[in-house]
Amino acid sequence: MKSKLTLLILILALSGVYIGYRMWNKPHLDIASAGPAASLTASELLAEYQSDESVANAKYLNKVISINGVIEAVSKEADQVSIRLATEDVMATVICNLDPFSSHAETEFVTGRNINLKGVCSGILTDVVLDRCVVINPSFK
């Protein structure tokens, strides 16, 4: 009887440790398989943010969105690749920071290319920023 109780406590303790461990090591959201909450072009997204930031934040902030645009510039700093998508506003772009937790088929991008990315919207400063982006339409060379 006593040994059964000990066994039960042991099993409970172990499963507690296991659940705790799983929670602690919870993986980052898998962007590639997440269904986007919205799908729009870089110009459309920027225009929505510029016309009313709080409305746009309510719609997109912290959500996975799919974005289409033309690459205006690419920068790489300490392994962080940032892709700037051109918009109709010459002063502002949509910045897409590639996800540091995903593996990417390509990390070199040419300007002028049409690209479709998925990422989490972080809001607007000068530019609208999407973090944790993954490329949806890889280029085939």
Binding site: H28, E53, N62, E77, N97, F101, V120, S122, L125, D131
Partner: protein, 191 residues
């Protein structure tokens, strides 16, 4: 409603345009890719996060500087930490950005067109988590090879900005976190 950086630039342009011509220093500088790192060092764990999308505009004629960063853009190694940071502590859906507005001491001594290292104090107001507090820090400018780098490091007392850490987590999260900012500034060309 926050002033858009574009408006701020426009404002700075109009303000400096109306000032009498100054000799030597001047010019406006900006970045949209400042690297900001966050360290919390507590007895139980070290927490680190970083982002590469800090914005900053500096008007050298007046020394005025404005900077902003999106809270959501900070990346943590652990997904759980990032979630807690955004949802429980910073409440980034309510307060999506942190903003600093202030000015540099003696901007006329910063000749960013000449190679060298320049140190100056930056004083102003920081808004984090919807709360605005005064703050100051030393900024170091390094000019060389046609590039201008600016960096600073400062401490932020979490409680100052109304960020509550539950008793259970008190040994895991530092009361004072360290922030470092590094960025390359570009001159804003007149169009």
């Amino acid at each position: 409603m926050q002033l858009k950086p574009v408006l701020i630039i426009a404002f700075l342009v109009s303000v400096t345009g109306s000032l009498p011509a100054q000799t030597g220093a001047g010019g406006r500088y900006f970045t949209r890719g400042a690297a900001i790192q966050f360290f919390s060092d507590s007895p139980l764990e070290k927490i680190e996060a970083s982002t590469n999308s800090g914005n900053c505009v500096l008007d050298l004629a007046t020394g005025k500087l404005e900077a902003a960063v999106l809270i959501n853009s900070f990346n943590f190694k652990k997904a759980l930490m990032q979630e807690h940071f955004n949802e429980n502590y910073m409440e980034s859906s309510k307060f999506p950005k942190a903003v600093f507005k202030g000015s540099l001491d003696k901007p006329q001594e910063l000749t960013l067109s000449k190679d060298g290292t320049y140190k100056t104090m930056l004083k102003g107001e920081m808004t984090i988590h919807g709360i605005t507090r005064p703050m100051q820090t030393e900024v170091v400018f390094r000019v060389g090879d046609g590039k201008i780098f600016a960096e600073t490091a400062f401490d932020v007392t979490v409680a100052d900005y109304g960020i509550r850490i539950p008793a259970l987590m008190r040994d895991n999260i530092a009361k004072i976190v360290r922030l470092t900012v590094k960025s390359e500034l570009q001159e804003l060309k007149k169009t």
